[in-house]
């Protein structure tokens, strides 16, 4: 057995014998995928609605009925006054209130009071409520003929939602989860495992042996590479068979770009381990330098376009951003490799830069 093989064997044993960490490493992708796939959505559903009306006329009746039957709204109460409805919203018993002010048989005006705390959702709720009520009322008006309406007609719109016709959020999150977990495993786990050898004193013996220390490090990285691929595959399988996310692009290309990204992450892990002296520092550095910016600035949860320019520049320096972009294109949109050349080029440049830096700062001695 060569020294290199024995390094790989030894490191695999370390990983396999730490049951609790293994459980979390493989449990995390599953839980994240299920959460993002099923639980986390911004769909308009179960919006708690209060109706305020002085007297029910057929029009109001129809509108309320439409709200009641729609899948978006849940009618929770009928309040006597607008004030009472406001109070219900303040107390978080309702999200929107619809106030019909009636004049005799005709509905004179409809006012929608919305809990505006969440700007995105409140806007959507307003749109949906508008839509539901408008449809209900227009049907009743026996849609007056265009001629009667007189002047200009309005264009109709047909919308085609490309790549994700059902607007499932899973399509968006799967690449992001891949970007985050691969970085976490490759960079954080490897840096901690190298620093642990320093803390335990085994690094000292290693350095005092004739084996080139880099060979030792590369041998150490190999099992993590394998682990990363295992996690990558389990994410893809989960995505395909549990979340029904189509893998539209070529599998070879996905694997190739992922490999590039994994190499980049490993280089980053090595770099951290060169700087950190204790496991705690390595842990905090990975958490602060890697995890936080990745989650916040890579466009995984929050769109990069909405950030101020300064932060957009910062985000431009974060590798997962490009990986996630490339994966969205390759995995979900299924476009050809020519559409992701820019991302690949940037990732390759970053990887070689990090690798050079990691090798330059690598110590062959203790200090």
């Amino acid at each position: 057995m060569t020294a290199f093989q024995s390094f790989i064997l030894k490191e695999s044993r370390h990983i396999l014998r730490d049951k609790r960490t293994m459980l979390i490493l493989f449990g995390m992708p599953v839980v994240l995928m299920l959460l993002f796939g099923f639980a986390i959505t911004t769909d308009v559903r179960n919006v708690r609605t209060v109706v305020v009306t002085a007297a029910m006329n057929p029009q109001t009746q129809r509108a309320v009925e439409a709200l009641r039957t729609s899948e978006y709204f849940t009618l929770t109460a009928i309040a006597p006054t607008a004030e009472a409805a406001k109070e219900m919203i303040r107390r978080q018993k309702a999200d929107i209130a619809i106030i019909f002010s009636a004049q005799g048989k005709q509905t004179a005006g409809i006012q929608v009071l919305i809990d505006g705390a969440d700007p995105n959702m409140s806007q959507q709720w307003a749109n949906y409520a508008n839509g539901v009520i408008a449809t209900a009322l227009n049907n009743q008006q026996h849609s007056p003929s265009p001629a009667a309406a007189g002047s200009l007609a309005s264009p109709t719109v047909s919308t085609r939602l490309l790549y994700n016709p059902q607007m499932r959020s899973a399509y968006n999150f799967v690449p992001a989860i891949m970007g985050m977990l691969l970085m976490l495993i490759c960079a954080m786990m490897t840096s901690i495992s190298i620093v642990r050898e320093k803390e335990r004193g085994t690094m000292e013996v290693m350095l005092a042996s004739p084996v080139h220390p880099l060979m030792f490090i590369v041998g150490k990285l190999m099992p993590y590479l394998a682990l990363a691929f295992a996690i990558l595959c389990s994410i893809l399988l989960l995505a395909r068979f549990v979340l029904d996310v189509p893998i539209a692009g070529s599998f070879g290309m996905i694997l190739a770009v992922s490999t590039l990204y994994i190499v980049l992450a490993l280089a980053l892990g090595l770099l951290i381990s060169n700087v950190a002296r204790t496991q705690l520092v390595a842990l905090l550095m990975s958490a602060m330098v890697l995890l936080m910016p990745i989650v916040m600035l890579s466009g995984m949860l929050f769109p990069v376009e909405s950030m101020p320019h300064v932060l957009q520049y910062v985000s431009a320096a974060i590798p997962p951003r490009y990986y996630i972009q490339a994966m969205r294109k390759l995995l979900i949109m299924g476009v050809g490799v020519e559409s992701v050349t820019r991302e690949i080029a940037i990732l390759a440049a970053m990887a070689s830069l990090l690798l050079t830096l990691a090798l330059a700062t690598f110590h062959k001695r203790l200090e």
């Binding site: 609790r20 979390i24 839980v31 959460l35 986390i40 959505t41 911004t42 308009v44 179960n46 303040r90 978080q92 509905t107 005006g109 006012q111 929608v112 009071l113 919305i114 809990d115 505006g116 705390a117 700007p119 995105n120 959702m121 409140s122 307003a126 508008n130 009520i133 408008a134 009322l137 265009p146 001629a147 007609a153 309005s154 264009p155 719109v157 047909s158 919308t159 490309l162 790549y163 994700n164 607007m167 499932r168 399509y171 968006n172 496991q279 705690l280 842990l283 958490a287 600035l297 929050f302 769109p303 909405s306 950030m307 932060l311 294109k329 979900i332 949109m333 476009v335 559409s339 820019r342």
Partner: protein, 360 residues
Amino acid sequence: MATLSFLLQKEFLQIRRNSFLPRLIVAFPIMIMCVMPWVMNMEVRGVVVDIVDRDHSVSSRQLVRRIEASHYFVFGGERSTYRAALSDIEHGRADIAVVIPPSFGSQLRQGESPNVLIAANAVNGTKGGIGSAYLAQIISTHGARTATASGMHSINLYNRHQDYKVFMIPALMAILIMMLCGFLPALNIVGEKERGTIEQINVTPVRKRDFILAKLIPYWIIALFVMTMCFLLAWAIYGITCQGSLWLVYLLAMLLAVTFSSIGLAISNYSETMQQAMLVMWFFVVILMLLSGLFTPVRSMPDWVYATTYVNPMHYFIDAIRTVFVRGGGIESIAHQVAALAVIALGTGTLAILTYRKNH
């Protein structure tokens, strides 16, 4: 009581002596409060629209100009064919393509309804959906009377300026308390285990309750300090102030701090190494955070997932703090959340004391 005060002195001295912790406690909230409100913005902005105008009539040019002029969209340019626009989408240069049919102007003049195609990249469902809906609104009202329901208008009750920061700042407070009060106590006890000092404490007659309280109280005080910093920063940087009573917010923060510091301690009682404690804590934090309604509305979740929010302390907290901070609710508005949080805090606190064992 006397023992507790000696133990507390020790904890505070240790936190103060640590080269890293005091800086973290001050710098982390500042960093989060200065940067994150700008980042945590799910507003859909900067949607890039490509237009394929195959009509070039007066009417279609008007429509193009209307879209161009909209603040909401970034005009990506005109393309001659749908294929060219699609290629832009594929390369990530555009998000939506609008195709105006050749007979757009003439159909309109004849009182017919021409069909305009909107093709949106819906990989990001929110962006694609909201963008295309808004665009559809612009197009369908083009040249016509408003077709919406008669006299219908909507009013936003709170957060009138529809500022995402107002919505997110309470969430940031929650994240800060969770991070500082969850992770630090967990690492603290495991650290004592690794150094062996906990054995020395375990052979003393110190009461479990005193020891655990001494470990937790400093982090509760840190939580209060961090909350105060958040209020000041939110006011100084963004001009955002609490609509309701500050005392209620502090009460909620205390309850959340008790809960998370207890969870942290319970986890550290079961962990051998810092790495283990950190990973397990992270696992819980991610799940509790994602399912709490911090970022996405809980009522949009499937019913079985929604059921989990009944035991999620984060959910009660985020619900209650938004009611007070954004909507200006009083104690009567959040009584139910406060009660639930208190029960959970009591439960986790008991768990922390029970799982700590002086005698194996």
